[in-house]
Subunit: 335 residues, 2 copies
Amino acid sequence: MSAGAPVLALSGGVGGAKLALGLDKILAPGALTVVVNTGDDFEHLGLSISPDIDTLLYTLSGLADPTRGWGRRDESWNFMRALTALGGPDWFALGDADLALHVQRSRRLAQGETLEAISADFARALGVATRIVPMCNERVRTRLRGEEEGWLDFQTYFVRQRCAPVLREIVYEGAAQARPRTPLQQLAADGGAALRALVLCPSNPWLSLDPILALPGVRAALGASVAPVIAVSPIVAGDAVKGPTAKLMREFGLPVTHGSIARHWRGLVDALIVDVDEPGLRESCGDEVEIIVAPTLMKSLADREHLAEIVLQAADRICAVRAGRAAAPSSARRP
Amino acid sequence: MSAGAPVLALSGGVGGAKLALGLDKILAPGALTVVVNTGDDFEHLGLSISPDIDTLLYTLSGLADPTRGWGRRDESWNFMRALTALGGPDWFALGDADLALHVQRSRRLAQGETLEAISADFARALGVATRIVPMCNERVRTRLRGEEEGWLDFQTYFVRQRCAPVLREIVYEGAAQARPRTPLQQLAADGGAALRALVLCPSNPWLSLDPILALPGVRAALGASVAPVIAVSPIVAGDAVKGPTAKLMREFGLPVTHGSIARHWRGLVDALIVDVDEPGLRESCGDEVEIIVAPTLMKSLADREHLAEIVLQAADRICAVRAGRAAAPSSARRP
């Protein structure tokens, strides 16, 4: 596979967007496509909000707030102050500039445009060459059953209740009826033959990537991919970098280890990148999976680019090995 | 009529709101009700915007920008900047804090609440004791026929085209099918018997007050009011203070005089307050109308309160004269 060939990444929000930014920076403009989870999307104040798509848009355009982990840098909060004074709900913070994205998206959705077309326009307007594609245009909603709270909307759990509920069950409502968007259809159709790599970003596997895999045909397409599938473990130094990944794993009875991540992706990935080796890790994912130890904590842009390089090197190496295997019988026949 | 009796004012935006503020300041809290034009309301970016109601809310709560003539003081504009960067429409400026009103109203309207209930809640939340009541809950839209442009929505004419089109016709679409809100129903029912005064604020008669009078029964109720009806001419020093009133009058072939205003309100008002006397003014409105010359340019809060005092004095004087007339036959019978 040539170094200029396209790369497809599946991503949730913050952690995934960091690696996506690294890939965006080191790949040729337009070579990267990121398919983004929309299971976190929700309607708030009459607005259609797509948190993960927005995180990708802001991260790749350089507009993301560098410390907060969501929203835009240099943001102002006069809308929220005025809304609170009017007695409006204040549990989900919407910055003044951030609102433009939600208002414009809501208006265009109401006019019958697709989330895919709107997201592509936003990326263009913000100068992002990487394609940012929602996993589907239909409404899919990740819902969570709290031990005491019963079924919760994702943002109710994640923002309003700050991930406090003990989770017992996760469903991706509407996923079975949704139609994966073009890059995923393409993957299913050609097995990723044109791709240099298929990357599972270090997002929460259960909350951010599984909604994408729950769409019809996507899990099978990943498993059958001829392009190398490279996953980056979201566990760093034995914990989640941010968000409820580790807490959720404990609640589901899973050790907070790369082994648990490896078992989750078993049969789907060719390589798993982890920050440290673990005893028994190789056994967790089967012989066919390459374990790559590399720095996965991405603090600086250089960290992001470095990890992206490692991902692509792994993919290229796997490609080369496969090409060698495929070439071996014919070369054996030569004198 | 006692000095504590309720006052009902009909108002459009800026000019009307100035007098409404004067009345609000000098009357007992809650004694004033302002019925507000909603013919300028429109949908923009998927939001329901009620410019005149908002101007009243901001003016009476002290949040209005003191120089711009619309929107909130200490406003920020990050939403508009971000929207413009996304390729969104930029012809109607929405401040960051101002957006809270539109988002919250749109959401509540979509949930089936009435504009009247929402406006009352907003007034309460902003600490406004005066009742701010939309003229109706139904959709009424002032539409204007430009000589060259054909039919225009109000905000297209007013903001987008900066009142440039030469107007030939005005209609209040939906007015005949709308139901005037409670204070107007009450006026029609009891002839304003409980009111100290009924005030036509110095708003544009054609664009801001006539939409209210176009609602079923309102014109007749005004004409039959037993409460004194006091109008303040929007013409100051032979011109409009702000907005297209004078331009519109010229386009309709009307001299830009108090006389034209007087003729417009003929049969409806008991007194007209003007900034200067004009030759022939008294003949324009008929003998039954009192012409009061007083400073109507409201620059300071003191100006607003002073004009409000003059309005109420006129109403009280007319009431006293009527009471005297009514009392005259019986006192004549006394020795």
